[in-house]
Structure formats: C-alpha cells, structure tokens
Amino acid sequence: MLGLNSKDFRLLLLVAALALLAPFILNPFPADSAMAQFNAGYPDLMQRFVIFGVFAIGFNILFGLTGYLSFGHAAFLGVGSYSAVWMFKLLSMNVIPAILLAVITAGLFALLIGYISLRRSGIYFAILTLAFAQMSYALAYSVLTPVTGGETGLQLALDDPRVLGAAQSAQGNIPVPGLFGLEMRDAAQLNLGDWVFTFSAGYYFSAVVMLIAFYLSIRIFRSPFGMMLRAVKSNQQRLNYTGLNARPYTLAAFVISGMYAGLAGGLMAAMDPLAGAERMFWTASGEVVLMAILGGVGTLIGPVLGAGLIKYMENIISKINADILHSWFAFLPDGLEDFIVSIMYPFIGKGWHLTLGIIFMAVVIFLPGGLVEGGQRIARLFRRRKSGEAAKDDDAKQSTVAE
C-alpha cells in the first residue's frame, strides 16, 4: 500500500492511529483527579510532540542513515521559523505559503552549510555544523536584528503590510494563522463524564504534516537512495571504489534533513507566530540529538518516540514538586514518606534534566538502538516465553532484518 511493504504500512497506520487519537490517549485521567497532572492531551503540548517529531525524523535521516553527527541542526529550525513569520507579516496569515517558504529557505541554508561542512567528516563535521549554527545564532541575536527582531524575537505587529489579507482583524487585533479560514488555535472540547478532551485545529494540522513527513521518511529509508546513505555510514572506502560519489549523497541527505527542520520551524511559527534566536542555540541542536538517540537512531519510529518522551518530561515531569510528592506518599509513615520524597526529589520537577541525562547515558551505554531496541528486546523475551526454544531461529532472523 502507498508503495510500502505490509510491515511498514502497518507501522504507518499505527502512527496515524496514535496521532489522530492522541487527544484521548494522552488524557487517560479524569480532569479533576490527582493524576490529571499527567495528562498530556492539551493542544500546546500535543503540537510540540508532533512538531519535534518532524524535527527528529529529519535529523534521523542525516545521522541515522549516514552517521554524520550534526550539532547545529537547530539553525535550520530557526531559519524556518523566521521565514514563516515573515510570510505571515508580508503575504497572508495562511499557513501553507508560510510553511512552504520555511522549507525552502531552510533547504537553501542547509545546502550552503552542508556544502562546506561535508568537506570534513567525524568530529570535524560536528564542530563545523556547531560553529555555523552558533554563528547564525549570534548574528540573529545582534546584527540581523532588522530581519530577526534580535533579542525580543520576530513578532507580528498591527501595521504589518500583509499583501493578501487584512493587517488587523475586525476587532482591531493581530490576526491568527489559519488554513483557509480555519484558525490554528480553534479547538473543540468534548466532555465525557469527568474526562475532558480537547481537539485543536493546530494539532491536527501539525499531526497530518507529521504523518506525511513520516511517510516520506519511510520511503527514503526503503529507497535505493536510503541504501546508499547506509552504505556511506558503513564503509565510505568501499563506496568510493564501487563507483559511487559519497559527497552528493550526503549533501542530499543533509539538505533533506535541513528541510525537515525548516518544516518543524515553520509549523512552530504557524502554531504561535513568533520566532526567536534561542531556537537556534546549540542546546536546541543538542536536544534533537538526544531525541533521536533516546528513541533509537536509524530506526523509523524511534525519533518520534524520543521527541515525545523528552517533551513529556519537559512539560509534565518538570511540574511535579515536593508537595505533590508528599501527597502521593502520604499513606506511608512520616519518616519513610520524607525519606522517599527526599530521594525522588532531585529527579523530578526542575531536576528533570538530571533524569533525562541519566536515561540518555544509560541508553548510549546499554541500548544503542534506543527505546525501539528496548521494545524489541522485551517483545522477544515475551515471545520466547510463549513458544519456548522453537522461536530461537525466528529471533535470529528477526534481529538481522530488524529496522
């Protein structure tokens, strides 16, 4: 189906189902219950899940397939955001042209940086991309203020020219990004008993874009081009002596991956029409590296999972404070309660980065295939229990062709 084999198609369907049902899946707890703080089904966070999913999918096309570790990918995301906001300012509040421009400018920018950076490999490539991204950040922050808004960032204003569309809404406010009349911040609420589910136009738009991006990445992974990229990672010497020129392959992967980052940046601006230089800072580049590695670099679904996990921690785990912990463990004797809370406290709330760092190290050390590999191992364990030794041959085969 859709040019995919049945296994990949099932994966696509699964991701589509998860994305479309996300408002239910991520809101498992009643709105007033003590567990409601673990609900992640609110539009702002769900949008972040899928947008960073797009970013991580794109990063994975470069790092997962070719092995070139870019530490400056956030630059393309930032460029995408700026382009989209400019489109809103100058052309119209429709998100389509804004996102198209974001993808194109990010692609051109990636072409330029990739052309130069790919002359080196390994750590030198990482440092070059980092240097370019930091330069872009510094310039966006200072000299390019007329284009980027500098420290305050680029925002819409009441006197934007906006050729196709009104400068102001009927109420005299700044208009909102939309898709042919459907405003991105529109949302419908569904109350089912104690549960409240929110369906946001912006989220569903982003989710559809993410699904298309995910579908394209499957096609790329399964294409001869994707095979060549894996060959680049595996053995460049053999590739050269097989009559293939590695440079245009890696450059194409770099540009595609930059365009994905631009798409993510454009989507971000479409959800909330502003852009700031901090999106290009190197920690933002580091974050997408964490996402891809955590989820499983080189796997199809891994980066999306990694993006989801990190954004969940950033937004949910970070909100748990000592009081909440005490309320959870209130049933314990006082001394024990205090003890457990004091042990857990450094790892939650503002300390969520610590948890993230520990999980990340554990993944790099023990699970180079990330969460996906972890899932596969658990699944294999279960299957082995079920069918005993007979499954062993099957496992061996599974592990060789597993993606």
Binding site: M227, Y241, N245
Partner: protein, 251 residues
C-alpha cells in the same frame, strides 16, 4: 598494446624512491601478477593505478584513457574494480544489499537521487544480485548481516561485488593475506573459476607464491621500486635474478 599501460612511472616520498621508471603492460583477459619482496613498491604502484596517489612523472593509461588525477569512483566507473587486502564490504548491510549497491552504481552512475522508489521493487537489480550470489554459493545467506561472516566469506562477497559490475580490469591486493589455509584455497578456487569462465583482466599483487603460481599467466617481479623481469610463471620460477632478489630470500 595492453588494456592497462604503465609508462615511466616515478614516485618519491621525500628522499625515498618508491617507484623508479616502472613500465608495465597488462594484456586483456590475462591474469597478471605483480610480486616482489616487502617494500618493493607494490602497494605504491597499486595506489597509483586507482587514483589514491599521483605519480611524480609518467603515465597510467587504461584502455587509452589516463587514470591519473581521477577520483577512485571515477576510475571505477571506467571499468576498474578493486579488492582490498582486508575485505572492504558494507558491514551494517545485508549480503543482498551489499550485492545490490555495485549493480546500482553500474546502472545509475556515481550519483542518482532515487529517494522515493522502493529498493524492494527493483526487480532487475535484485535478480542480478541474486544471480551473482548463486554463482558465489551464497544465495542462502542473502539476509545475513555481513559483519558477522567469516573472513573467507567476506572476501568471497567482496570479489563478487566487484564482478557484479562486470569490470574490465579487476585489481586484487594480496587477496589471501591473513587467511586460514582453507579460506585461502577457497579463494584461489574462486579466482581460478573467474579466470576460466569470464572475460576479465585480472591484475593481482601478491606475496604468497602458492597463490601466484596457481593463478598467474604472466608475472612481473618488482624489486626496489623497479620491474626486474616480466615473463611467464615457468620462466620466472627458474630465473636467476628473481631467485637472487626474491625467492632466495623467501626460501
């Protein structure tokens, strides 16, 4: 006039004359061995043939075209395939994928952006790859990851990957170096079969006399960067100069 013509090639590294006035002609559809003691300049010569080194003077012509200054992938596209001392294959890919890549390179050239097509749908490429794997008796290993294979199998696959491109010249750099006896013999048998069944020129750089004398139809002896003699294996065996320069030391 041979398919590969090396004329007056000199190469110095600092004060060291690595190659001095090398003249060499490899005839089409022959197995030509280049032998010599360590430091005779065999590897330097090979690197000049594949674009990794550029000689200081002289010319290297393949089928009437100069190979000098070209990149390795361009030289491969001219019809020269190379087998390395330690097998160079794509360790993270499956056997079948390893075999498909050279066939893609042959069909599509050095770069083609086929990012949306499915590799699984490339029937003719897969058929050719499977045919080659059948020839190598490796068809049953098509889904194996190559990193876990034995050295002999890796070598077999590497040679197969080169053959799959139907090259006009196959360069082999000590193809049995570091191999167990059984793997060495299997490799010799494979190369013999290739020699006898395919129209292909083979240039082989080798240390192991057993390999050389079981395969070569013509032998050049290199000593201190200069060709000493060039002749048939039988003549080489009895040649006094060769005994002195090489066999005498080796035995």
């Amino acid at each position: 006039m041979g398919i590969l013509e090396v004329k007056n090639v000199n190469k110095r590294f600092g004060g060291l004359q690595a190659l001095g006035d090398v003249n060499l002609s490899v005839e089409e559809n022959k197995v030509h061995a280049i032998i010599g003691p360590n430091g005779a300049g065999k590897s330097t010569l090979l690197n000049c043939l594949v674009g990794k080194l550029i000689p200081d003077t002289g010319s290297v012509m393949f089928d009437g075209q100069s190979v000098l200054g070209r990149k390795p992938y361009e030289i491969n596209q001219m019809g020269i395939s190379r087998v390395f001392q330690t097998p160079e294959i794509f360790g993270d890919l499956t056997v079948l994928e390893n075999m498909m890549i050279p066939i893609f390179a042959k069909r599509d050239g050095a770069f083609r952006m086929h990012a949306i097509e499915s590799a699984e749908q490339e029937k003719s490429i897969i058929d050719q790859a499977m045919a080659m794997l059948e020839d190598l008796n490796m068809a049953d290993k098509r889904d194996f990851h190559t990193a876990s294979m034995s050295r002999g199998d890796k070598r077999r696959l590497e040679i197969g990957m080169c053959l799959a491109q139907k090259p006009r010249l196959l360069l082999l750099d000590e193809p049995t170096a570091g191999m167990a006896r059984a793997d060495t013999n299997a490799t010799i048998d494979l190369l013999k079969e290739i020699r006898d069944t395919r129209d292909i020129t083979i240039a082989i750089i080798e240390h192991d006399m057993h390999v050389v004398f079981s395969l070569a139809e013509r032998i050049t002896v290199l000593a201190q960067g200069t060709p000493l003699v060039e002749d048939t294996p039988d003549k080489i065996k009895g040649h006094p100069k060769v005994r002195e320069a090489y066999l005498g030391e080796a035995t």
